[in-house]
Amino acid sequence: MIRLEQVDKRYPNGHLALSGVDLVIRRGEFVFIVGPSGSGKSSLVRLLYREELPTAGDVYIDQFHLTHMRRSQVPRLRRQLGVVFQDVKLLPQRTVGQNVAFAMEVVGASSREIAKRVPQVLELVGLGRRRDSFPHQLSGGEQQRLGIARALVNNPVYLIADEPTGNLDPDTAQDIMQLFLEINRRGATVIMATHARDLVNQVKRRVLAIDHGRIVRDELKGAYHEA
């Protein structure tokens, strides 16, 4: 379970990006975080994987108290999470397979586990045949799939995505959305920040609307509309 209590985030330049955010996300949910550009979606997401700490309030994810945890515990938290970005952050010198394997390698997985798991995940995201390609040989949608494969490969409990369809054409964005839904069906909790109105409206999942750093709406089976 993810829980935020009275969270404020003020950046060093004085800008207040989040204020008084209260929020609970249970395991297995699919949650959209929607709002106009600059409303604080990315700021909220960065708090979840502890890239940033809140200025006030508390963040809890399962047994982790993010605002009061030791540095040495952060890797354990991150291994529960998979993170996907708009700019996928792939390693250009490594093949598709190596990009995914790298994520397992650096958390100490064995060669056998890696050899078994990497093809499974690539198959799941539809890149089974692109294993030996390099990222620059992939289309935008395929690159995003690769980013998702990497986020999934260590079996995260929570999959967190920040505008994963932001750079994609509508059809490709559709496909990626279906992939997230499939991942959610298989048990992962999905949290997706987006301002892709059509996608949100079409799937009827929980929607958290955020504006000027405040949660202005929280609807199960919601839609993306102006408050």
Binding site: R71, V74, R79, K89, L91, P92, F102, V106, S110, R150
Partner: protein
């Protein structure tokens, strides 16, 4: 640590060194030069020690008698000097004995030994020991005043002075090395900074998927340490060949000079340079990792 993880660190380290190309070369050379300078001072002090030790093994005062003085007079003086209060022990040697001693000390100096065989240019004399080092100059003066005495050398004093010089050489060497080490540290940490920069994408991904801080640091620390070790190895190779050359030159120019043998020099330099290489490389990369890696 698992073999798989070791392999990962080894591969990443090697890859980093290779990718950094010129910077790797620059930092290895800097380490090598810095450690070579350190080794140079060590070689100096080892040699000074060697000279002092050689001299201390010999008699404290050596008195040489003019060549024309008859044996009877020499033996009378021996008996007389035995009675002097400062003299603890005195023994007489002939120039033939002196020649034999020389032959056993320098078996390689063929030309020289031949010369001695033909017309022994050495002197008869006495080995004299004082009760106390402070008495040595007085005893030496007393011998020197006698008309039959050709010359007097007392090497204990020389040895003592050499030891002083050795201490100074060593202190100067370490002082210079401290400065060089700082310069070396900074170039190593800059090399590692470049390595960190080259791998910033990988590092970002590693942090994101939950690699531990030390897992991220290790390849960089290893890289710095390997730079230090390669530098130390280069310095030691240079010392090895340089010193062989120096020995040959010294023996040709000053056959009697007690040059410390190569193995003795290497015994003193290799350990220190390797250790310093490790320390400089390790610390340099740790500094870089702390300042630039943010993990």
């Amino acid at each position: 640590m698992r073999p798989k993880t070791l392999w990962y660190f080894g591969r990443e380290t090697g890859y980093g060194l290779w990718r950094n190309g010129w910077m790797t070369l620059a930092s290895v050379s800097t380490v090598a030069i810095s450690l070579f300078v350190l080794a140079f001072f060590i070689v100096l002090s080892v040699n000074l020690n060697h000279i002092a030790a050689t001299l201390e093994n010999e008699v404290e005062i050596r008195v040489f008698i003019h060549q024309k003085v008859p044996r009877k007079t020499e033996l009378q003086l021996l008996k007389q000097a035995r009675g002097w209060p400062s003299v603890r022990q005195i023994s007489f040697f002939t120039k033939t004995q002196a020649a034999h001693q020389l032959q056993s000390e320098f078996p390689d100096q063929k030309a020289l030994l031949q010369l001695i065989d033909q017309s022994n240019p050495l002197f008869d004399g006495y080995d004299v020991y004082a009760h106390h080092p402070a008495q040595i100059p007085a005893v030496a003066r007393r011998f020197r005043r006698l008309p039959v005495v050709q010359s007097v050398v007392y090497e204990g004093l020389v040895a003592k002075r050499i030891n002083r010089v050795t201490e100074i050489v060593r202190a100067v060497g370490w002082g210079i090395e401290a400065l060089l080490a700082l310069a070396t540290l900074s170039i190593i940490s800059n090399t590692i900074r470049l390595a960190v920069f080259a791998r910033r994408r990988e590092i970002a991904v590693m942090k994101l998927v939950g690699a531990t801080d030390w897992f991220i640091r290790w390849p960089f620390v290893l890289e710095g340490t390997v730079l230090g070790l390669i530098g130390a190895a280069a310095a030691d190779v240079a010392v090895n060949y340089g010193y062989r050359w120096a020995i040959r030159a010294a023996v040709a120019a000053m056959p009697f000079w007690p040059v410390a043998p190569l193995h003795l020099v290497l015994e003193h330099t290799v350990g220190v340079t390797v250790l310093m290489g490790l320390v400089i490389g390790g610390i340099g990369s740790l500094v870089a990792v702390r300042r630039f890696l943010h993990v």
